[in-house]
Subunit: 479 residues, 2 copies
Amino acid sequence: MRAHPAGPRHGDVSTSPAIPIAPIDAVQLGELAAEVWPITAQRSLKGVMHVGGVDVRDLAAEYQTPLFVWDLDYFRSRLAAFATAFADAGPGPTVFYAAKAFLAGLAVREVSAAGLGIDVCTGGELTLALRAGADPANLMFHGNNKSASELTQALDAGVGRFVIDSFEELVRLAALAEDRGVKARVLIRVTVGVEAHTHEFIATAHEDQKFGFSLAGGAAAEAVRRVLGLDSLELVGLHSHIGSQIFDADGFEVAAHRVVELLADVRDEHGVELAELDLGGGMGIAYVSDDDPLQIEDLAGRLRVIVERETASRGLTVPRILVEPGRAIVGPTMVTLYEVGTVKPIDLGGGHSRTYISVDGGMSDNIRTALYDADYTVTLASRAPTVPATLARVVGKHCESGDIVVRDAWLPADVVPSDLLAVAATGAYCRAMASTYNLVPRPAVVAVSAGTTRLVLRRESVDDLLALDVELFPGPDAS
Amino acid sequence: MRAHPAGPRHGDVSTSPAIPIAPIDAVQLGELAAEVWPITAQRSLKGVMHVGGVDVRDLAAEYQTPLFVWDLDYFRSRLAAFATAFADAGPGPTVFYAAKAFLAGLAVREVSAAGLGIDVCTGGELTLALRAGADPANLMFHGNNKSASELTQALDAGVGRFVIDSFEELVRLAALAEDRGVKARVLIRVTVGVEAHTHEFIATAHEDQKFGFSLAGGAAAEAVRRVLGLDSLELVGLHSHIGSQIFDADGFEVAAHRVVELLADVRDEHGVELAELDLGGGMGIAYVSDDDPLQIEDLAGRLRVIVERETASRGLTVPRILVEPGRAIVGPTMVTLYEVGTVKPIDLGGGHSRTYISVDGGMSDNIRTALYDADYTVTLASRAPTVPATLARVVGKHCESGDIVVRDAWLPADVVPSDLLAVAATGAYCRAMASTYNLVPRPAVVAVSAGTTRLVLRRESVDDLLALDVELFPGPDAS
């Protein structure tokens, strides 16, 4: 279902719904596919789901629901896998965790401890990274519209890399750096005309989007020229980002071919070989068990082969390959726990029915289903499935028909209020994009590891929700 | 452009973009169409936009951007227009402001002062309404998954109407009311098989959505039976809600026909004539000047004629008609002010180009463009347009290509950084659905009236943004 342009919209009105898969038995219903669930997610002998060795019923009792449960060991292992897969002989990190996917103080510390850098794109993300102790030299500052005050903050902090996105920013950053007597290290974001998602990519000459400098139009080459002509900027490399939720390396191959051509042109025109080639993020993860993204080490190997071949063919020294995974690191490491509130079988006509299962969160804690038609995997978590499945739709508690968490799911036919459901792979772009729509408090994030818990983000209180309301809390800010 | 299921997606990749309208001259560019702009929005002799008699440059300087500017007089006049249009001889309000569109303490006070009730759908909305002094008797409690604690809170507060949405809730509410020795006044939400948007409606027997009791399937009649059999519930009426952003009365006509049939069945089976018929919300507004929603008084007149005819034909006393406008009241009364940060002309090939204008907010303060493909009207606000237009796309500062505020707009070709843009009709579902994605602070809301300003919601600070982070702010909540 697609949300209506004009606003909230009902679920599909259809008397012959497409049935996604055949009904399955209770044993299959209880299985936790390794592709989508955190590495420590398992069922106890009695069938209760545990994550990080902790019973989900205990988590719900202590931290309330909805709740993001973060498998900290799995997060660490994915950090380590990326660090190893993309390791090279150069100084400093090659992997920059994309903060936009999920950021918290603990994430900053774990990422830093694993030796990765962090990609931030606003003053808010930069502030959090710095307060949590990130090394500014290992920060990369992204964004199509960094303000003068954000650039100033980043320069003063000593941020290690700026990804320049426009001529205006180039001039702005150069002037601010010059004022401070510093040299800002920059990469130029190049739009190479490749857009990739999952198993497809589109390659064109022109790219109709807000980011970067066009390769085909010559803006990228001109940006290189201008940066090289400014004393307050040091050009360390080129940057290309081609899409999101990418499952194979084909799109990267075309992008690398094009951007390496620019590296060669820069060498030919300016006699400079740039040291870094940032291939951006967009590495995909499995939301449902049919998803088959490349494994981290396979992707790293493919990218290395591609870049080596492309640079060798042009007689260039192989640059350092940088990447910016966010979803690919944190996405699979969280699950969302919800409590069921109502269960409503709906007759769709023609012998079909659908069971609407309402949970205590929804589009405020996961907008991706409504925003991107995203698919998720859901399971009954607080007990073992013991009966066969019914076709269910897991919906939220918001006053909007498009408030859907999982569009099509097979869940045990005996799900009742107070059961706990778990949704897999909610680590990226769920808590990060959370709203307080309908004044629903944003859920807590709790890390679990080896049977212990650690609160990362506390649950929002009603007082938190109302704190900005000057009518209720007139303070020094009120006018 | 549609966001990709898998995640963020670039803008349309196209070398032959559809051009929305013909280029227009500078004079036309400066016009503020009465259909979409607040009633007090006008340009000074020098061409600077004022709202409520206040210069937008002064607003930006004092409250920063992005900023929601709320025309308080216009809000009051729309409240009064609804109250008058739907007035009847009965006691208490017939118009219930839908809090989900936009809620703040000042909104509660203004709505209450105008004699309207408020439709809330969570404990958070209920708490805010009560703290700001709303009369609980004039509150209507909506929602498909009200928790036991929310129902308890509402019963204890003396909320005047509960819209029952499921059999589970019916039992839950009855038991809680019985425990307290009170009688809860309830309406039953009926799904009548009508889904309406703008100038279209679909009528079916079955409705594939989470809300309400099916009329066709008999669940609605069964809910009536059960409520009438319970001492702790008082059935005051039926409720039907058919869609959103509805421009005419055709869908309401079919819905009224069907739900009045149920009123007649209830009379025939139980000898009871229900006093209230709630036709829900969904009344549309103009986002662009081509939009032509029915005027408030016309809509009220049409609904009254429809309900009178339908009830007369069945020999029923005409019930009180209740409505729940949210967007239709608050939507047109706000504009969002943004400051331009970058301006980037993009060659699309084939002689076409598009100017990407980046502003200092985006999908965090207005998700509707990405979520619903919503259209908006935008104008240069801080000065008069003096040159002809260029085809522009107004985009935000978030690290996501789908972060678009206004997809297609004609804006003066000389827009530069530090210009202020104003986007019309952002009162509903913008601040209410705001996120802190990329740790971008949520904007302030400032009311303007007769040359004065009054802060309603203060701008979020970085400390507000990080307040839930236990790693940075370990407090008594941390474990």
